[in-house]
Symmetry: C2
Subunit: 325 residues, 2 copies
């Protein structure tokens, strides 16, 4: 709490120095204590200049996904009311799930700098090397039935894709149901898990993994990162993961509120615009076989509608969909 | 294990006495140890006669839902491979859920003599007084998507209703989606919970509460027990809960295997036969309103299809359905 008070004053000060007396007064601690807390903040990566005569000045904040930084200036009403972050976990989805079972509030966000067992769809893993990625799980309590779960995956895909477009300026696209592509390379994946009864969903965990500054060598084939994709057009340095996390949470918050108000139709409409698949030839693999066709549209539940060669439409709510060139 | 060995020999002996020497030999322990274990079995409710010259004889087994008794003569391949039973728990569903998360095998069965927080549909409670009820949760790992979850509830309702018919000879009926009625009184409820991703269900917990010997005074309005309903036609004593549990597990096991082989169609067919609702006038309450109509059929996902007064059909996958006289 003292750390947060000190940071708040320094941030408010902008480029000007804040005297030690002032810090002592507001944080209500001794000069020695101020010094100790400033040292601690420096250890966390904050650059704080200390001048004997002028006082203290904040030069930069670390790009660490710590709760105080994530919440700083965050404009949301539900998402991120509670934020927990870790250096290293098995899987943020697993932690969020277990916190949800123990009664967390709607909108809980769990972040980690690294995952040792990052989860992907269909029992696959999600490469989650330290430094460079955003590994985030958002816990939601929407008033939906289990059959409507694809809606939440779609909502998240739309929100995250728009946040990535806004953040990078690049034309990110959605590959149904849960990937975000830039230049046909996967930069983000979404994994939705839930606890439910037949009548309703108890909670949903939306896991979002984004390769931000990750180098291509750390990623599986077909994977890329926002930085790698930006390199082709500019020489930008590392991207701010914090800024991206806040943008994603703000977009998710907006969509989540809109879902309650206006239902799912506006999301499908935007998905159509962001879809990398509409009109594409695809192969669909299911555990009991598969088929080929052309992506026709999405139905009201968030399932993919594919036109078979026979001319008939077929609805796909699970399975692997590959685009055929 | 020694208890189980001793019981096995005594059971095999039927009405004849088994000598102490024989018990010692097979269980591979001393005479004193045999005596100690026989005492322990008596504490659990087994009536064992000990004659100084003839040896031991099993007179009766307790109607306790302990694993050894449940498994005795149980003809199943998946359901009940693992059985755990308790004297008193919050909720067998909660325990089964947490065991499932920790990697239990398909077919796990959790039983309790009493539940302090027995769960019903839509956040309601299920009265679970000690002595007289069966409170059982079966954990299944079917290869289905979340939208198919009503199929598992229906499968369980069909299997349990048929087991109750077989056990009591009374015309038990299914009230969609999850209640079993005899003479329009509720004798059994089923609550299905699951953990899932969009692509598939990780596991399903099917909670089954049956009022067997429970007296009407211990049950909420509209509730009854198998014994109460049998009383009207006969003066039968307490019913064997163990026998009912085994019958239910055997029917569930059969239906579960058949679902994998033949799909859901045969279950819908049998549901139609057991349904207390087909052709009935109903009121459907949803959280955002409700409507009235006549039950027309069930769809392939296990949802109820109701014909509205306007003549249109409407599909119901959640909510409260009340029959109107």
């Amino acid at each position: 709490m003292i750390d947060e008070k000190i940071l708040k004053i320094l941030r408010a000060g902008g480029d000007s120095y804040i005297s030690g007396e002032e810090l002592c007064r507001v944080a209500d601690v001794s000069r020695a204590a101020i010094w100790k807390h400033v040292e601690k903040l420096r250890d966390e990566g904050y650059e704080i200049e200390a001048s004997p005569h002028l006082g203290y000045r904040l030069l930069s904040v670390p790009d660490s996904l710590i709760p105080a930084e994530v919440k700083w200036g965050l404009k949301t009403s539900v998402l991120g009311r509670d934020v927990i972050s870790y250096k290293k976990v098995d899987s943020t989805n697993t932690i969020a799930y277990s916190l949800a079972e123990n009664g967390s509030r709607d909108g809980l966000v769990v972040l980690s700098e690294e995952q040792t067992k990052g989860k992907g769809r269909l029992g696959r893993s999600w490469a989650s090397p330290p430094k460079g990625g955003v590994y985030m799980s958002c816990m939601l309590k929407p008033d939906i039935t289990p059959r409507e779960i694809p809606r939440i995956t779609l909502l998240a895909a739309v929100a995250v894709t728009e946040a990535i477009r806004d953040f990078t300026g690049l034309p990110a696209m959605i590959k149904w149901p849960n990937d975000v592509l830039i230049n046909d390379r996967k930069v983000c994946g979404i994994l939705t898990e839930m606890k439910a009864e037949q009548d309703g969903v108890a909670f949903v965990i939306v896991g979002i993994g984004v390769n931000v500054n990750t180098s291509r060598g750390q990623l599986p084939a077909g994977g890329s990162s926002l930085k790698e994709e930006l390199k082709r057009i500019s020489r930008r340095d590392s991207l701010s993961r914090l800024e991206l996390v806040r943008k994603m949470l703000e977009r998710l918050d907006e969509e989540y509120a809109r879902l309650k108000e206006d239902g799912f139709a506006p999301i499908i409409e935007r998905w159509r615009h962001l879809s990398a698949m509409l009109g594409s030839r695809v192969k669909v693999s299911l555990h009991d076989g598969g088929f080929a066709g052309v992506v026709h549209d999405m139905d009201a539940d968030g399932s993919l509608v594919v036109r078979l060669e026979s001319g008939f439409l077929k609805t796909v709510s699970s399975g692997d969909v590959t685009m055929v060139r």
